[in-house]
Amino acid sequence: MYSALWRILPGPRWVKVIELVALVVIVLSVCVEWVFPWVAETFIQSEATVGQ
């Protein structure tokens, strides 16, 4: 999977590294901004109240 990704990415090695870093940043921000909050709200019950 990742070896295929490495082959698909255009340019010489250092360009590929930059592209990979950019991809990682994009994926991480999507996770932190949308995916993780959704998972937390949906699957983890965190309560702080009484009698509710």
Partner: protein
Amino acid sequence: MSRAKFSWSRLASHRTREILSDILLTLGVTALLFCAWYVWVGDVVAGIRQDAASQKLAQSWVTTRELPEFDRNMGDSTGTVVGSTPPVTRPPGIGKAFATLIVPRFGKNYERSIAQSVDVAKVLNNMNTGVGHYVTSDALGEVGNFALAGHRTTYGAAFGSIDTLRIGDRIYLETVKGWYIYRFRNMEWAYSSDSTVLNPVPQLSISPKQRILTMTTCHPKLSSAERFIAFSVFETFVPRQVGMPAEVAALRTR
């Protein structure tokens, strides 16, 4: 003969193994990242945002031109602290912030907005609030119990340091009218079903004579098995025109 058609060697071919291991590795790393975000990074980020939102709210009161109701009722113009009969702050609509919570014991930068209702999505998990007022409990300034809820961990952990409170610690509730000052009295553990801690006199069914501040949060950390309850007693009210209490001013001039 179906067994013959299924080939372990094909499943274990180099390519399949690589894809499978990549997927498992990705899932594992994502799970670890999620844990780190949930208990640490996301919590810290939410806390910073909530502190900032609360400071902004308090800032809007500093510049307000509206004459506090307290003036007319108490007739204080000399700058004297009038005493322990505070104005009543009627809470606004669900999810709206109407006061800020300042607890010097919780750290120099700690300051959170208090919004009406303890709804998880609207208030407790909200990046702008984090502390909620039980709609069924009494209003701020009223004789009785002003009860709040906040997270112990995650989503900014508004009450994360609740176990560090010491008897006599001051807790400030700031509104547009001024500062309600409470002193921490005692804590206890309860089950989530025990709503008597929200009674006008906590745990009893008698009519109130005091103003109590009740803070509820989960216990132990990262669990909802029990609740940590902190009770504080109203001490005095400082009107805005008298000026910021020294302890609050020291925090604000950071």
